[in-house]
Amino acid sequence: MQLPFKVSLSAHDVACERGGRTLFQGLSFTLAPGEALLVSGPNGAGKTSLLRQLAGLLPLAAGHLSVSGAEADTPVAELCHAIGHLNAAKTALTVRENLAFWAEFLGDGDSDLAGALAAFGLEPLADFPAGLLSAGQKRKLALSRLYAAPRPVWLLDEPSVSLDVHTVTRLDAAIRDHLKKGGIAIVSTHVPLKTAFDHELALGQERAA
């Protein structure tokens, strides 16, 4: 699946505040097409918050994000696939129906259902209700969303949770493939991945020191 366009993403002096407490501030990075960023740090350092800020779900307490390469008025969130802790799977729908919906909704006409089903080997389960899937299979369903519609920025928050070793390798390869096509990946993970991250952002250092 080809990306519709390549973008570069930068953050300038971004700060995050949760409940009156500043989680991080003065955070800047620039990612060119094909680059990956690893977000690390202890629990509560703000990894999830940063990813939610990039996905447009949390407001920035300070600073701003900028994107070049996309149409000027496209919000950053619309360029992103955000895979969070929750799998966004509807238990009453089958695997195929779940993915078909995301393909249609996120792709808005530009979608790839077959590719999404194949990406993490969900074809044998396609007509199974998502409610009967195991935790790992539900995670695969969430990750398959990455392939349902082409988007240049992948925001992956602990993507490997409850995945088996084989699937983690597959995910690793998927990220590398995405980077090769000129995409951007921002990953927060505690599991070592083989993907070579061009940048690493260690959050929560001041407090640990």
């Binding site: 619309e78 696939h81 955000a82 929750l86 799998n87 966004a88 799977a89 238990t91 909704f105 006409g109």
Partner: protein, 222 residues
């Protein structure tokens, strides 16, 4: 465009597949209407006179019962986060979800109303105006319920709070809904003015409620 249709189709399919919400709303409506005559006694004239009011009150409460589900399930399983990164503005997402609520709850309740009218000795002649008034008014019921549902998102046992927020906003719908069915309350030949006001209420809430709901959803997503 296709994103919006996909969302609407998914919500209708989920309501159908999960079944519970529509069934509970219809069952609740039936129970409210059936026990009222038992409490009031067998005075057929009295029943016929208050039937429109009972039918409207029952419909509003039944719709309210399923209102929490407009956003709750999507919020809990993380779907709302992903919907927020979609190509549609959040207000359009909210509006489509309210529309799906109207299609899956509002319309079945309207279809049940004349059947329940028979139980209340409502004159057959008023059935067309009853259905018409309810069809015109129920979009406002669903969209206003969407405001309450988005404001109470993420709260435990939010049902009562939702009712406290939304029922005051239902007062105009109730007043004009009832007066569109009972011309002899508000004077002869006056079915149309309250009907048009119902239409106006629905149109206004279709436009304004999604904006309010989207603002509330943004805060809930933080």
């Amino acid at each position: 465009m296709s994103a919006g249709l996909a969302l609407l189709a998914r919500d209708v399919r989920l309501a159908w597949r999960e079944g519970g919400a529509v069934g509970v709303a219809l069952g609740f409506y039936l129970i409210v209407v059936v026990i009222t005559p038992l409490g009031l006694g067998p005075d057929l004239n009295l029943l016929a006179r208050i039937a429109p009011g009972i039918l409207w009150v029952g419909l509003l409460l039944a719709a309210l019962l399923s209102a929490g589900r407009i956003f709750d399930n999507d919020y809990e399983d993380g779907t709302l986060d992903v919907l927020a990164t979609g190509p549609l503005p959040l207000s359009v997402v909210a509006g489509l979800k309210c529309l799906a609520h109207w299609l899956t709850t509002g319309i079945p309740l309207v279809l049940l109303a004349p059947v329940l009218g028979l139980l209340l000795n409502l004159p057959m002649g008023t059935f067309p105006s009853l259905m018409l008034a309810m069809l015109a008014g129920t979009p406002a019921v669903s969209f206003v319920a969407g405001i309450g549902a988005s404001l109470t998102l993420g709260l435990r046992r939010s049902g009562l709070l939702l009712a406290l927020l939304v029922v005051p906003l239902y007062v105009p719908i109730l007043i004009f809904g009832v007066s569109a069915v009972t011309p002899y309350v508000s004077g002869p030949n006056s079915t149309w003015p309250p009907f048009f006001i119902l239409c106006a209420l629905s149109l206004a809430s279709v436009v304004l409620a999604p904006l309010a709901a989207a603002a509330a959803l943004r805060t809930a997503l933080r």
